[in-house]
Amino acid sequence: MTDWEIVLKEWPRLASGFGTTLLLFGISAVGAFLLGALMVGPLRSRSKIVRIALRSYVDGMRMLPFLIFVYLLFYGLPTFGVKLDAWTAGLLGLTVYHCAYVAEILRGAWDQLPVGQTESAQAHGYHGLRLIRRIVLPQLVLNTAPVLGNQLIYILKDTSFLMIITVQDLTYAASSIQSMYFVPLEPFLIAMALYWAISLLIEGFVRVVHGTAKERGLGHA
Protein backbone atom coordinates (compact mmCIF):
# COMPACT_ATOMS: atom_id res chain seq x y z
CA MET A 1 0.00 0.00 0.00
CA THR A 2 1.33 3.39 -0.87
CA ASP A 3 1.43 6.05 1.75
CA TRP A 4 -1.51 7.92 0.22
CA GLU A 5 -3.58 4.74 0.22
CA ILE A 6 -2.93 4.27 3.90
CA VAL A 7 -3.95 7.81 4.62
CA LEU A 8 -7.09 7.35 2.53
CA LYS A 9 -7.98 4.24 4.50
CA GLU A 10 -7.57 6.20 7.70
CA TRP A 11 -9.65 9.17 6.56
CA PRO A 12 -12.28 8.64 9.30
CA ARG A 13 -9.58 9.24 11.88
CA LEU A 14 -8.53 12.45 10.16
CA ALA A 15 -12.13 13.51 9.71
CA SER A 16 -12.86 12.89 13.36
CA GLY A 17 -9.81 14.87 14.40
CA PHE A 18 -10.75 17.70 12.06
CA GLY A 19 -14.28 17.63 13.43
CA THR A 20 -12.95 17.94 16.96
CA THR A 21 -10.75 20.85 15.96
CA LEU A 22 -13.65 22.62 14.24
CA LEU A 23 -16.00 22.01 17.17
CA LEU A 24 -13.50 23.28 19.72
CA PHE A 25 -12.72 26.26 17.50
CA GLY A 26 -16.35 27.09 16.77
CA ILE A 27 -17.65 26.91 20.32
CA SER A 28 -14.71 28.70 21.89
CA ALA A 29 -14.64 31.40 19.22
CA VAL A 30 -18.30 32.23 19.83
CA GLY A 31 -17.82 31.99 23.59
CA ALA A 32 -14.69 34.12 23.59
CA PHE A 33 -16.39 36.76 21.49
CA LEU A 34 -19.55 36.89 23.62
CA LEU A 35 -17.62 36.98 26.89
CA GLY A 36 -15.18 39.54 25.54
CA ALA A 37 -18.06 41.74 24.37
CA LEU A 38 -19.70 41.47 27.80
CA MET A 39 -16.42 42.37 29.43
CA VAL A 40 -15.64 45.62 27.56
CA GLY A 41 -18.16 47.72 29.44
CA PRO A 42 -17.03 46.61 32.91
CA LEU A 43 -13.40 46.94 31.79
CA ARG A 44 -14.09 50.67 31.53
CA SER A 45 -16.23 50.74 34.65
CA ARG A 46 -16.41 53.68 37.01
CA SER A 47 -15.90 51.26 39.89
CA LYS A 48 -12.19 51.04 40.63
CA ILE A 49 -12.42 47.51 42.02
CA VAL A 50 -14.17 46.12 38.97
CA ARG A 51 -11.82 47.89 36.59
CA ILE A 52 -8.64 46.76 38.35
CA ALA A 53 -9.83 43.18 38.75
CA LEU A 54 -10.73 42.84 35.08
CA ARG A 55 -7.59 44.72 33.97
CA SER A 56 -5.42 42.27 35.92
CA TYR A 57 -7.23 39.33 34.42
CA VAL A 58 -6.90 40.65 30.86
CA ASP A 59 -3.23 41.60 31.30
CA GLY A 60 -2.53 38.26 32.97
CA MET A 61 -4.01 36.22 30.12
CA ARG A 62 -2.10 38.32 27.60
CA MET A 63 1.20 37.61 29.31
CA LEU A 64 0.64 33.89 29.85
CA PRO A 65 1.25 31.12 27.33
CA PHE A 66 -1.96 29.37 26.39
CA LEU A 67 -0.63 25.94 27.27
CA ILE A 68 0.34 26.93 30.81
CA PHE A 69 -3.20 28.20 31.35
CA VAL A 70 -4.59 24.90 30.10
CA TYR A 71 -2.14 23.05 32.36
CA LEU A 72 -3.50 25.10 35.23
CA LEU A 73 -7.05 24.02 34.41
CA PHE A 74 -6.25 20.40 33.60
CA TYR A 75 -3.46 19.53 36.05
CA GLY A 76 -3.85 22.27 38.64
CA LEU A 77 -7.58 22.35 39.41
CA PRO A 78 -7.75 18.73 40.70
CA THR A 79 -5.80 20.05 43.69
CA PHE A 80 -8.98 21.93 44.59
CA GLY A 81 -11.15 18.93 43.90
CA VAL A 82 -12.22 20.11 40.44
CA LYS A 83 -11.42 17.38 37.93
CA LEU A 84 -12.03 18.44 34.34
CA ASP A 85 -11.70 16.04 31.43
CA ALA A 86 -9.31 17.09 28.69
CA TRP A 87 -12.03 18.25 26.32
CA THR A 88 -13.70 20.47 28.91
CA ALA A 89 -10.41 21.85 30.14
CA GLY A 90 -9.45 22.58 26.56
CA LEU A 91 -12.72 24.29 25.69
CA LEU A 92 -12.74 26.31 28.89
CA GLY A 93 -9.11 27.23 28.37
CA LEU A 94 -9.67 28.41 24.80
CA THR A 95 -12.74 30.44 25.72
CA VAL A 96 -11.47 32.07 28.92
CA TYR A 97 -8.00 32.74 27.51
CA HIS A 98 -9.09 34.29 24.24
CA CYS A 99 -12.00 36.32 25.59
CA ALA A 100 -9.36 38.43 27.35
CA TYR A 101 -7.79 39.18 23.97
CA VAL A 102 -11.15 39.99 22.40
CA ALA A 103 -11.99 42.26 25.33
CA GLU A 104 -8.69 44.10 24.92
CA ILE A 105 -9.15 44.52 21.17
CA LEU A 106 -12.67 45.90 21.68
CA ARG A 107 -11.54 48.13 24.55
CA GLY A 108 -8.81 49.66 22.41
CA ALA A 109 -11.36 50.32 19.70
CA TRP A 110 -13.80 51.88 22.18
CA ASP A 111 -11.11 54.27 23.38
CA GLN A 112 -10.81 55.43 19.76
CA LEU A 113 -14.55 55.76 19.25
CA PRO A 114 -15.66 59.42 19.15
CA VAL A 115 -17.26 60.26 22.48
CA GLY A 116 -20.17 61.79 20.57
CA GLN A 117 -21.38 58.33 19.68
CA THR A 118 -22.13 57.35 23.27
CA GLU A 119 -23.34 60.89 24.07
CA SER A 120 -25.89 60.96 21.28
CA ALA A 121 -27.02 57.49 22.29
CA GLN A 122 -27.41 58.60 25.91
CA ALA A 123 -29.28 61.70 24.77
CA HIS A 124 -31.74 59.40 23.02
CA GLY A 125 -32.34 57.34 26.14
CA TYR A 126 -29.80 54.54 25.71
CA HIS A 127 -27.79 53.22 28.63
CA GLY A 128 -26.06 50.08 29.86
CA LEU A 129 -26.07 46.88 27.85
CA ARG A 130 -28.51 48.18 25.25
CA LEU A 131 -26.25 51.13 24.47
CA ILE A 132 -23.29 48.80 24.02
CA ARG A 133 -25.18 46.21 22.02
CA ARG A 134 -26.98 48.54 19.57
CA ILE A 135 -24.67 51.52 19.21
CA VAL A 136 -21.14 50.81 20.39
CA LEU A 137 -20.40 47.14 19.74
CA PRO A 138 -21.38 47.04 16.05
CA GLN A 139 -19.02 49.93 15.39
CA LEU A 140 -16.22 48.33 17.42
CA VAL A 141 -16.52 45.08 15.50
CA LEU A 142 -16.67 46.80 12.12
CA ASN A 143 -13.63 48.89 13.03
CA THR A 144 -11.56 45.94 14.22
CA ALA A 145 -12.61 43.21 11.79
CA PRO A 146 -9.05 42.40 10.61
CA VAL A 147 -7.66 42.22 14.14
CA LEU A 148 -10.56 40.09 15.35
CA GLY A 149 -10.01 37.85 12.33
CA ASN A 150 -6.40 37.40 13.36
CA GLN A 151 -7.55 36.45 16.83
CA LEU A 152 -9.84 33.83 15.35
CA ILE A 153 -6.86 32.32 13.56
CA TYR A 154 -4.95 32.25 16.85
CA ILE A 155 -7.85 30.40 18.45
CA LEU A 156 -7.78 27.88 15.62
CA LYS A 157 -4.06 27.32 16.03
CA ASP A 158 -4.26 27.06 19.79
CA THR A 159 -6.64 24.10 19.49
CA SER A 160 -3.58 22.06 18.45
CA PHE A 161 -1.96 22.60 21.85
CA LEU A 162 -4.73 20.49 23.31
CA MET A 163 -3.29 17.35 21.76
CA ILE A 164 -0.61 17.64 24.42
CA ILE A 165 -3.28 16.91 27.02
CA THR A 166 -4.54 14.12 24.76
CA VAL A 167 -7.50 15.80 23.10
CA GLN A 168 -7.93 13.99 19.80
CA ASP A 169 -7.83 16.92 17.44
CA LEU A 170 -6.58 17.15 13.87
CA THR A 171 -2.88 17.26 14.80
CA TYR A 172 -3.34 14.30 17.14
CA ALA A 173 -4.98 12.37 14.30
CA ALA A 174 -2.17 13.16 11.89
CA SER A 175 0.38 12.20 14.50
CA SER A 176 -1.37 8.89 15.28
CA ILE A 177 -1.53 7.85 11.65
CA GLN A 178 2.12 8.76 11.29
CA SER A 179 3.21 6.74 14.27
CA MET A 180 0.98 3.76 13.47
CA TYR A 181 1.95 3.34 9.84
CA PHE A 182 5.23 5.23 9.61
CA VAL A 183 3.85 7.55 6.96
CA PRO A 184 5.42 10.81 8.05
CA LEU A 185 4.58 13.18 5.21
CA GLU A 186 1.03 12.75 4.01
CA PRO A 187 -1.07 13.01 7.19
CA PHE A 188 0.72 16.20 8.19
CA LEU A 189 0.40 17.67 4.73
CA ILE A 190 -3.33 17.09 4.86
CA ALA A 191 -3.56 18.50 8.38
CA MET A 192 -1.62 21.62 7.41
CA ALA A 193 -3.73 22.03 4.29
CA LEU A 194 -6.89 21.85 6.39
CA TYR A 195 -5.65 24.47 8.88
CA TRP A 196 -4.67 26.63 5.93
CA ALA A 197 -8.07 26.23 4.30
CA ILE A 198 -9.92 27.31 7.45
CA SER A 199 -7.56 30.28 7.84
CA LEU A 200 -8.27 31.36 4.28
CA LEU A 201 -12.00 31.07 4.95
CA ILE A 202 -11.65 33.23 8.05
CA GLU A 203 -9.64 35.80 6.09
CA GLY A 204 -12.28 35.79 3.36
CA PHE A 205 -15.00 36.38 5.93
CA VAL A 206 -12.98 39.23 7.40
CA ARG A 207 -12.64 40.81 3.96
CA VAL A 208 -16.42 40.79 3.61
CA VAL A 209 -16.97 42.34 7.03
CA HIS A 210 -14.23 44.89 6.40
CA GLY A 211 -15.86 45.76 3.08
CA THR A 212 -19.15 46.30 4.91
CA ALA A 213 -17.32 48.56 7.34
CA LYS A 214 -15.73 50.64 4.60
CA GLU A 215 -19.14 51.18 2.95
CA ARG A 216 -20.18 52.93 6.13
CA GLY A 217 -17.00 54.90 6.51
CA LEU A 218 -15.74 52.70 9.32
CA GLY A 219 -12.64 50.53 9.63
CA HIS A 220 -9.91 53.18 9.85
CA ALA A 221 -9.45 53.09 6.07
Binding site: Q117, S120, A123, G125, Y126, H127, R130
Partner: protein, 253 residues
Amino acid sequence: MPEEVPVLQVDGISKSFDGVEVVSNVSLKIHSGETISILGPSGSGKSTLLRCINWLEKPDRGDVYLAGKRVGRKEDDQLMSDHELASVRTQMGMVFQSFNLWPHFTVLQNVIEAPVHVLGVSKDDAVVRGEHLLEKVGLEAKRDAYPYSLSGGQKQRVAIARALAMSPTVMLFDEPTSALDPELVGEVLSVMRDLAAEGMTMVVVTHEMSFARDVCQEVVFMDDGQVVEQSTPDKFFSNPQTDRAKRFLTRYE
Protein backbone atom coordinates in the same frame (compact mmCIF):
# COMPACT_ATOMS: atom_id res chain seq x y z
CA MET B 1 -54.79 82.75 36.14
CA PRO B 2 -52.11 80.55 37.69
CA GLU B 3 -48.80 80.65 35.87
CA GLU B 4 -48.37 77.65 33.64
CA VAL B 5 -45.62 75.23 34.63
CA PRO B 6 -42.57 76.01 32.53
CA VAL B 7 -41.51 73.19 30.21
CA LEU B 8 -37.95 73.64 31.37
CA GLN B 9 -36.73 75.25 34.55
CA VAL B 10 -33.08 75.64 35.44
CA ASP B 11 -32.37 76.68 39.04
CA GLY B 12 -28.95 77.89 40.12
CA ILE B 13 -26.88 75.48 38.02
CA SER B 14 -23.15 75.57 38.67
CA LYS B 15 -20.49 73.37 37.14
CA SER B 16 -16.71 73.34 37.50
CA PHE B 17 -14.01 71.48 35.60
CA ASP B 18 -10.60 71.04 37.22
CA GLY B 19 -11.38 73.69 39.79
CA VAL B 20 -12.47 76.26 37.21
CA GLU B 21 -16.11 77.32 37.46
CA VAL B 22 -17.48 77.09 33.95
CA VAL B 23 -21.14 77.68 34.77
CA SER B 24 -22.00 79.97 37.73
CA ASN B 25 -25.40 79.92 39.30
CA VAL B 26 -27.48 80.07 36.14
CA SER B 27 -31.27 80.09 36.27
CA LEU B 28 -33.69 80.03 33.36
CA LYS B 29 -37.34 79.38 32.67
CA ILE B 30 -38.64 78.27 29.33
CA HIS B 31 -42.34 78.03 28.58
CA SER B 32 -44.09 75.83 26.09
CA GLY B 33 -43.63 76.90 22.50
CA GLU B 34 -40.79 79.29 23.28
CA THR B 35 -37.52 79.31 21.44
CA ILE B 36 -34.66 80.80 23.39
CA SER B 37 -31.12 81.24 22.17
CA ILE B 38 -28.06 81.27 24.35
CA LEU B 39 -25.31 83.49 23.01
CA GLY B 40 -21.86 84.32 24.23
CA PRO B 41 -18.14 84.19 23.48
CA SER B 42 -16.23 80.88 23.46
CA GLY B 43 -15.67 79.56 26.92
CA SER B 44 -18.70 81.34 28.34
CA GLY B 45 -20.17 78.06 29.50
CA LYS B 46 -23.12 77.96 27.08
CA SER B 47 -22.58 74.39 25.88
CA THR B 48 -21.84 73.15 29.36
CA LEU B 49 -25.07 74.71 30.58
CA LEU B 50 -27.01 73.01 27.81
CA ARG B 51 -25.39 69.66 28.59
CA CYS B 52 -26.31 70.09 32.25
CA ILE B 53 -29.95 70.27 31.24
CA ASN B 54 -30.03 66.66 30.11
CA TRP B 55 -27.33 65.74 32.60
CA LEU B 56 -24.73 64.78 30.02
CA GLU B 57 -22.71 66.88 32.43
CA LYS B 58 -23.59 66.40 36.07
CA PRO B 59 -24.21 69.82 37.67
CA ASP B 60 -22.24 70.47 40.85
CA ARG B 61 -25.10 72.52 42.28
CA GLY B 62 -28.60 73.40 41.24
CA ASP B 63 -31.53 71.63 39.70
CA VAL B 64 -33.22 71.09 36.38
CA TYR B 65 -36.97 70.55 36.10
CA LEU B 66 -38.66 69.16 33.01
CA ALA B 67 -42.38 69.90 33.09
CA GLY B 68 -42.12 70.23 36.85
CA LYS B 69 -40.30 66.93 37.42
CA ARG B 70 -36.70 67.09 38.64
CA VAL B 71 -34.05 65.73 36.29
CA GLY B 72 -31.05 63.76 37.56
CA ARG B 73 -32.16 63.50 41.16
CA LYS B 74 -35.14 61.84 42.71
CA GLU B 75 -37.59 63.16 45.33
CA ASP B 76 -35.22 62.15 48.11
CA ASP B 77 -32.25 63.98 46.58
CA GLN B 78 -30.63 60.67 45.64
CA LEU B 79 -29.06 60.48 42.20
CA MET B 80 -31.24 58.88 39.57
CA SER B 81 -30.12 55.50 38.32
CA ASP B 82 -28.81 55.24 34.76
CA HIS B 83 -32.12 53.71 33.82
CA GLU B 84 -34.21 56.53 35.31
CA LEU B 85 -32.00 59.18 33.76
CA ALA B 86 -32.21 57.48 30.37
CA SER B 87 -35.97 57.49 30.68
CA VAL B 88 -36.08 61.24 31.31
CA ARG B 89 -33.73 61.92 28.41
CA THR B 90 -36.22 60.38 26.00
CA GLN B 91 -38.34 63.47 26.58
CA MET B 92 -35.53 65.85 25.63
CA GLY B 93 -34.16 65.84 22.11
CA MET B 94 -30.56 66.90 21.56
CA VAL B 95 -28.79 67.96 18.39
CA PHE B 96 -24.98 68.08 18.55
CA GLN B 97 -22.41 70.25 16.86
CA SER B 98 -20.74 67.20 15.33
CA PHE B 99 -24.03 65.54 14.33
CA ASN B 100 -23.08 62.17 15.92
CA LEU B 101 -25.16 60.07 13.56
CA TRP B 102 -24.63 56.35 14.04
CA PRO B 103 -22.52 55.31 11.04
CA HIS B 104 -23.46 51.66 10.97
CA PHE B 105 -27.12 52.50 10.36
CA THR B 106 -28.74 54.00 7.27
CA VAL B 107 -30.43 57.39 7.53
CA LEU B 108 -33.84 55.84 8.11
CA GLN B 109 -32.42 53.29 10.56
CA ASN B 110 -30.85 56.16 12.50
CA VAL B 111 -34.24 57.83 12.79
CA ILE B 112 -36.22 54.73 13.84
CA GLU B 113 -33.52 53.21 16.05
CA ALA B 114 -34.28 54.87 19.40
CA PRO B 115 -38.08 54.86 19.05
CA VAL B 116 -38.04 51.12 18.37
CA HIS B 117 -35.37 50.02 20.84
CA VAL B 118 -35.83 52.51 23.65
CA LEU B 119 -39.50 53.49 23.47
CA GLY B 120 -40.73 50.14 22.19
CA VAL B 121 -42.55 51.60 19.20
CA SER B 122 -43.38 49.00 16.56
CA LYS B 123 -41.02 49.02 13.61
CA ASP B 124 -43.81 49.74 11.12
CA ASP B 125 -45.07 52.73 13.05
CA ALA B 126 -41.54 54.02 13.52
CA VAL B 127 -40.84 53.73 9.79
CA VAL B 128 -43.98 55.65 8.89
CA ARG B 129 -43.13 58.43 11.31
CA GLY B 130 -39.48 58.33 10.31
CA GLU B 131 -40.28 58.74 6.62
CA HIS B 132 -42.59 61.61 7.46
CA LEU B 133 -39.86 63.34 9.46
CA LEU B 134 -37.27 62.80 6.76
CA GLU B 135 -39.68 64.36 4.29
CA LYS B 136 -40.07 67.29 6.65
CA VAL B 137 -36.33 67.93 6.70
CA GLY B 138 -36.11 67.34 2.96
CA LEU B 139 -34.15 64.10 2.98
CA GLU B 140 -36.65 61.37 2.16
CA ALA B 141 -34.57 60.49 -0.93
CA LYS B 142 -31.61 59.62 1.29
CA ARG B 143 -33.44 57.17 3.54
CA ASP B 144 -31.25 54.21 2.56
CA ALA B 145 -27.97 56.09 2.37
CA TYR B 146 -25.28 55.83 5.01
CA PRO B 147 -24.27 58.96 6.94
CA TYR B 148 -20.80 58.53 5.42
CA SER B 149 -22.12 59.70 2.04
CA LEU B 150 -23.95 62.78 3.29
CA SER B 151 -22.83 66.39 3.49
CA GLY B 152 -22.62 68.11 6.86
CA GLY B 153 -25.88 69.96 6.35
CA GLN B 154 -27.65 66.75 5.38
CA LYS B 155 -26.24 64.92 8.39
CA GLN B 156 -27.46 67.63 10.73
CA ARG B 157 -30.94 67.57 9.22
CA VAL B 158 -31.04 63.80 9.75
CA ALA B 159 -29.89 64.38 13.32
CA ILE B 160 -32.81 66.76 13.84
CA ALA B 161 -35.25 64.20 12.40
CA ARG B 162 -33.70 61.55 14.64
CA ALA B 163 -34.25 63.66 17.75
CA LEU B 164 -37.78 64.60 16.70
CA ALA B 165 -38.67 60.93 16.21
CA MET B 166 -38.72 60.60 20.00
CA SER B 167 -41.52 63.20 20.19
CA PRO B 168 -39.63 65.19 22.79
CA THR B 169 -41.09 67.92 24.99
CA VAL B 170 -38.11 70.18 24.36
CA MET B 171 -35.31 70.25 21.79
CA LEU B 172 -31.78 71.20 22.81
CA PHE B 173 -29.39 72.43 20.10
CA ASP B 174 -25.67 72.61 20.88
CA GLU B 175 -24.15 74.94 18.26
CA PRO B 176 -25.91 73.02 15.48
CA THR B 177 -24.32 74.94 12.60
CA SER B 178 -20.85 75.68 13.97
CA ALA B 179 -19.26 72.69 12.24
CA LEU B 180 -20.86 73.37 8.88
CA ASP B 181 -19.47 75.00 5.78
CA PRO B 182 -21.17 78.38 5.37
CA GLU B 183 -23.21 77.39 2.34
CA LEU B 184 -24.78 74.49 4.27
CA VAL B 185 -25.84 76.51 7.29
CA GLY B 186 -29.00 77.83 5.67
CA GLU B 187 -30.65 74.46 5.08
CA VAL B 188 -30.31 73.57 8.76
CA LEU B 189 -31.49 76.95 10.04
CA SER B 190 -34.47 76.68 7.73
CA VAL B 191 -35.52 73.40 9.36
CA MET B 192 -35.06 74.93 12.79
CA ARG B 193 -37.14 77.95 11.82
CA ASP B 194 -39.98 75.70 10.71
CA LEU B 195 -39.78 73.74 13.94
CA ALA B 196 -40.01 76.91 16.00
CA ALA B 197 -42.94 78.13 13.93
CA GLU B 198 -44.75 74.88 14.63
CA GLY B 199 -44.50 75.54 18.34
CA MET B 200 -41.64 73.26 19.44
CA THR B 201 -39.97 74.39 22.66
CA MET B 202 -36.33 74.93 21.76
CA VAL B 203 -33.13 75.92 23.54
CA VAL B 204 -30.47 76.85 21.02
CA VAL B 205 -26.82 77.56 21.79
CA THR B 206 -25.62 79.31 18.67
CA HIS B 207 -23.43 81.89 16.97
CA GLU B 208 -26.03 82.53 14.27
CA MET B 209 -27.22 86.02 15.16
CA SER B 210 -29.84 86.07 12.41
CA PHE B 211 -31.52 83.04 13.91
CA ALA B 212 -31.44 84.54 17.39
CA ARG B 213 -32.83 87.80 16.16
CA ASP B 214 -35.56 86.50 13.85
CA VAL B 215 -36.78 83.30 15.44
CA CYS B 216 -36.34 83.47 19.19
CA GLN B 217 -38.60 84.96 21.80
CA GLU B 218 -35.74 85.44 24.21
CA VAL B 219 -32.01 85.87 24.09
CA VAL B 220 -29.77 84.82 26.97
CA PHE B 221 -26.29 86.28 26.84
CA MET B 222 -23.64 84.44 28.84
CA ASP B 223 -20.09 85.38 29.66
CA ASP B 224 -17.67 83.75 32.08
CA GLY B 225 -20.25 81.21 33.17
CA GLN B 226 -22.90 83.74 34.15
CA VAL B 227 -26.03 85.10 32.57
CA VAL B 228 -25.05 88.70 31.88
CA GLU B 229 -28.11 89.83 29.96
CA GLN B 230 -31.45 88.32 29.21
CA SER B 231 -34.11 90.00 27.11
CA THR B 232 -36.08 89.90 23.89
CA PRO B 233 -34.06 89.88 20.68
CA ASP B 234 -35.23 93.37 19.74
CA LYS B 235 -34.02 94.84 22.98
CA PHE B 236 -30.80 92.85 23.09
CA PHE B 237 -29.60 93.54 19.57
CA SER B 238 -30.63 97.17 19.29
CA ASN B 239 -30.00 98.27 22.86
CA PRO B 240 -27.62 96.04 24.81
CA GLN B 241 -27.38 97.10 28.43
CA THR B 242 -24.02 95.82 29.54
CA ASP B 243 -20.51 96.58 28.27
CA ARG B 244 -19.75 92.91 27.77
CA ALA B 245 -22.82 92.46 25.59
CA LYS B 246 -21.88 95.55 23.59
CA ARG B 247 -18.37 94.28 23.02
CA PHE B 248 -19.68 90.88 21.97
CA LEU B 249 -22.12 92.38 19.49
CA THR B 250 -19.56 94.64 17.84
CA ARG B 251 -17.54 91.57 17.01
CA TYR B 252 -20.44 89.99 15.21
CA GLU B 253 -21.99 92.95 13.44
